[in-house]
């Protein structure tokens, strides 16, 4: 059995986090999403893996090289759709194969369920089906598949995970796999619908927080760093090599902290928080329900909740984030959302900056004493 992982697309709706990597490489619970997909395949004994790369391909390739698995990489020069991506890998495909999106989480059990059924789609109910390929079913067979319909006829959506035969390539007409599936159905081929157990897609950047909560549930406890004896650690908490936790810090799991971080003293880390490597959390700061990526510094007396913070940010003291519901304009669509903040890479903000339901682009500088509320700041902005 072979598996083709599609990781060429940028994931524009997750901007600004995709500036230096595609969506599949965004760390959730401190591991890039694609690593969970690879893990699930390996757990099913599938070791023949091909990854289609495109956008920021070097970053993906470098990561895959570091895994120590014999993964093959093929290059899709222009991102012309999922079927085209698959065609880029056609010469590597030997027989029956699985196709998986590299930027969605999938559990190993679901893969076990589909891998031996050729011509099948893994499906799942979703409350907002119009962002996906919606499938219509009859007796466990797919009768139609509609890509991103405005008014969805069903709540059952395609997870983008397919089990296919090599002959699939003769059905490709349009640019997407769903088009080819429709062609197959019309030609009278049977396409099975296999229900998925646990499948997570982050459509928008703030959805990563939900995925983070879910993936932290499987967190093994590990203690490689050093924690002061006056630290209170409860629940599953993983602390990486070289990390030091200062006195009077309270950590309530599930929490994962990477390598070489400096936390505290006197900080609070609430559940569902992922902290990358070389992060500094200054005294009297609290965080919870957050993803804080590598090399970020968060000043003292700050409150970072319901927030995704990119790499290399430097948030000065008394930064505060509050959760609010608002309406966001993402790639021309108006989306209702409820979260604190999504901060891109390399953001510098001064003391007493307040964030509420906002998206801040990469390389933004905010002088301080500012409220960034219900706004989207483009890359490179300067707020004085």
């Amino acid at each position: 059995m072979q598996a083709i992982i599609l990781a060429a697309g940028e994931g524009v709706r997750v901007r600004p986090l995709t500036r230096s990597r595609p969506k599949a490489m965004i760390p959730v619970a401190n591991r890039p999403i694609i690593e969970y997909v690879i893990d699930a395949l390996i757990k099913n004994g599938i070791r023949d893996i091909v990854v289609v790369v495109g956008y920021r391909k070097e970053q993906v390739t470098r990561f895959l090289n570091g895994l120590g698995l014999p993964i093959e990489v093929v290059f899709q020069e222009k991102q012309l759709g999922t079927a085209h991506a698959l065609q880029c890998a056609e010469s590597k495909i030997k027989g029956d194969f699985l196709v998986l999106p590299g930027d969605n989480y999938i559990d190993p059990q679901s893969i076990a369920r589909i891998k031996d059924t050729p011509n099948a789609i893994l499906v799942k109910e979703h409350p907002n089906p119009s962002n996906f390929g919606v499938v219509l079913l009859n007796n466990g067979l797919v009768t139609d598949i509609v890509e991103k319909p405005e008014h969805s006829p069903s709540f059952m959506v395609s997870t983008g995970i397919y089990s296919l035969k090599k002959s699939f390539f003769s059905h490709i007409r349009g640019t997407d796999i769903t088009d080819a599936i429709s062609v197959m159905i019309r030609a009278g081929e049977h396409i099975q619908a296999v229900p998925a157990d646990d499948w997570q897609d982050a459509i928008f950047a703030w959805d990563l927080l939900k995925m983070n909560r879910r993936l932290l549930k499987n967190l093994p406890t590990a203690r490689e760093g050093t924690a002061s004896r006056q630290t209170i650690i409860q629940g599953p908490v993983s602390i990486g090599k070289g990390t030091t936790i200062g006195p009077n810090t309270v950590i309530t799991g599930p929490v994962v902290i990477g390598n070489d971080c400096t936390i505290g003293p006197n900080t609070v880390i609430m559940p569902n928080t992922s902290i990358g490597s070389r992060v500094r959390l200054d005294p009297f700061t609290m965080t919870g329900d957050a993803i804080i990526m590598d090399d970020t510094i968060i000043g003292s007396h700050s409150r970072i909740i319901d927030t995704v913070v990119g790499e290399r940010c430097n948030l000065a003291d008394h930064t505060s984030v509050s959760t609010a519901a608002g309406v966001m304009d993402i790639e021309g669509c108006t989306i209702r959302s409820e979260f604190g903040a999504v901060l891109g890479n390399n953001i510098t903000s001064g003391p007493f900056t307040a964030y509420k339901n906002c998206i801040v682009g990469n390389n933004v500088t905010i002088e301080g004493q500012e409220s960034i509320t219900f706004r989207t700041l483009p890359d490179g902005s300067l707020v004085i």
Partner: protein, 582 residues
């Protein structure tokens, strides 16, 4: 400069040797050959060209014992006849050799007068005829090789097989040779890259060692007496030497630079720096090629920040100067095998200087010659053009400057890798369009950016074959200015700091001569983008990191230009990875 490999064990030797030679190809790639112990005697296949392009019949040779060679010609043009392995007059003994036999002309005359027929123009062939003579007296290969060794002058790592004796005899003197210790099998190779797929246990030989390998045991002799060498565990993984999904090793290695810099900074522990460094009153550096440029950057930083006088020499020129009687001599060599640098360090030692080596390869020759060694943590570098080893050398040297200036730069060095990561995203397509059409490119900078310009130009000429020269911006007016025209792009390094103002005036002067100027400056610079044709912006950072960011930008520019011109980036014509001949 060549790559050699030998195998004895239970597998078929030839396919394994062919694969191994492909991994050693960076050491030379103008011809190759394999010899095995077949059923009837020695089977031989050798060809002109690259083994990665046509292994030909080499992989189909039979036998469980064999030797192979990939060549970078020194004596005799690359052709089938001059390719190794070389055989004696009877065709019963075969040898592969890396290095240069300096007294080969003498030996050859004597051998010819005794009736030996030479089939090639190489220096190597004398070895096999000498062994033939000894072997005819006493048919024992080990004794024969040991009798020949004292007659050879120069550098060599040799592997010898003889029909009827199921073993390989290896010997080394001033050329690299490592033994891989497997389970009922042994490997011998110029470096560990072809070996790590099969075993992680390696034995590094010393100069003057002779080794006998059978599939059961290894016997080591030093100057004729039995000796023991310890087994070391290799910490490089197979993945480290694979291209992965990258189009070229060079690009892979460029992308590994943030990690290489970070690992190296972390590995050079400021408290454990050798006393010689911390107490140094003056420093002399010896290096070749790219390493010379890192040395030059270091002299700027050391003199201006620490006030310690520093002198830098090309390793190949060092012997023509009387060495300083006191002070520290630092030799910089990625491979640890660069012949000129090794000679320079020996030269310094004999005159009583303390010596420090900076290298990327554990167990390489330089580590045994120098008093102390600092290792870069770059991992194996396969591409001929140095990239991550350059960055890692700089990491060590910058950390030394940091330690000699009360660790003022700890914070700066700790964050450098992040900025390098950022530079990898810089878009160079416009600059590449201009460079790929040029016949000549000039690189200019001032202060520490002058050596950065030299390195940028070196990268460009190495892999794109475009004539490129680095100048200090001030020197340009003393002659090279006459060469400027609208057809000669200038890459100007114009970073904020001491050199900024005068660089701006220099750029204006160059613009006045019609040369298109591509400037590398920092984001947020208001003046520079207006006066240059193409402005490449990198993040605004302190001086140490500016050096790194401008360097990485130049590497990427050279890489993308070479790719746009369709060059063989990883194996540029006429070049070899490390130069193990003087």
């Amino acid at each position: 400069m060549c790559g050699i490999i030998g195998y004895i064990g239970r597998r078929d030797a030839a396919p394994l040797i062919v694969e191994g030679l492909k991994k050693l190809e960076y050491r030379g790639y103008d011809s190759f050959g394999v010899a095995t112990l077949g059923t009837t005697g020695i089977d031989l296949a050798k060809h002109q060209g690259r083994i990665s392009e046509k292994a030909g019949t080499a992989a189909r040779l039979k036998g469980k014992t064999g030797i192979g060679h990939t060549r970078w010609a020194t004596h005799g043009i690359p052709n089938d006849r001059n390719a190794h392995p070389h055989t004696d007059c009877t065709g019963k003994i075969a040898v592969v050799h890396n290095g240069i036999i300096e007294n080969y002309a003498d030996l050859k005359r004597h051998l010819q007068s005794r009736g030996h027929t030479f089939r090639s123009e190489t220096d190597t062939e004398v070895i096999v005829h000498l062994i033939e003579e000894e072997y005819s007296i006493k048919p024992d290969l080990l004794t024969a090789v040991q009798a020949v060794i004292p007659k050879l002058e120069g550098s060599y790592a040799i592997l010898v097989i003889a029909a009827g004796e199921d073993r390989i005899i290896a010997a080394r003197n001033m050329s690299p040779l490592v033994i891989g210790v497997g389970d009922g099998e042994f490997f011998a190779a110029s470096d560990i890259t072809p070996v790590i797929e099969f075993t992680e246990r390696a034995m590094y030989l010393e100069d003057g060692d002779t080794v006998s390998l059978t599939n059961k045991k290894i016997e080591i002799f030093h100057n004729g007496k039995p000796a023991a060498r310890s087994i070391e565990l290799i910490d490089w993984s197979l993945e480290d030497v694979r291209k992965g999904g990258f189009a070229h090793y060079m690009l892979k290695e460029i992308y590994e630079q943030p990690q290489a810099f970070y690992n190296t900074i972390r590995s050079v522990d400021p408290v454990s720096l050798p006393e010689e460094v911390l107490q140094a009153k003056s420093v002399t550096l010896v290096a070749c090629g790219s390493s010379y440029h890192t040395g030059l950057i270091f002299t700027y930083l050391l003199e201006s920040i620490c006030g310690i006088p520093a002198r830098l020499e090309f390793a190949s020129e060092f012997k023509y100067f009387p060495p300083p009687v006191t002070g520290l001599v630092i030799g910089i060599t990625q491979s640890g095998e660069t012949a000129d640098t090794l000679a320079a360090i020996r030269h310094a030692r004999t005159s009583g200087c303390s010596t420090l080596a900076i290298t990327n390869v554990l167990g390489s020759s330089v580590t045994r010659i120098a008093d102390t060694t600092l290792f870069m943590r770059a991992g194996p570098e396969i591409s001929v053009a140095a990239t991550k080893s350059f960055i890692a050398q700089l990491a060590i040297l910058m950390q030394m400057v940091n330690c000699l200036s009360e660790r003022k730069y700890d914070d700066v060095l700790q964050q450098a890798h992040k900025v390098i990561e950022e530079v990898l995203l810089v878009d160079l397509s416009e600059a590449v369009m201009v460079c790929k059409k040029a016949q000549s490119i000039f690189y200019v900078g001032r202060g520490p950016f002058y050596p950065v310009s030299l390195e940028g130009a070196l990268k460009m000429k190495e892999i794109s074959y475009i004539h490129a020269e680095g100048y200090s911006a001030g020197e340009l007016k003393h002659g090279p200015f006459a060469l400027l025209s609208p057809e000669t792009p200038v890459i100007a390094l114009c970073m904020p700091g001491d050199t900024y103002g005068v660089m701006i005036s220099n750029i204006k002067e160059m613009k006045a001569r019609g040369a298109p100027v591509i400037a590398i400056g920092v984001a947020g610079d208001r003046d520079l983008p207006d006066i240059v044709d193409i402005f490449i912006s990198v993040p605004k950072t302190p001086l140490f990191i500016q050096i790194l960011t401008s360097l990485v930008t130049e590497q990427l520019l050279a890489y993308h230009t070479a790719v746009a011109l369709g060059r063989d980036v990883d194996k540029p014509r006429n070049l070899a990875k490390s130069v193990t001949v003087e």
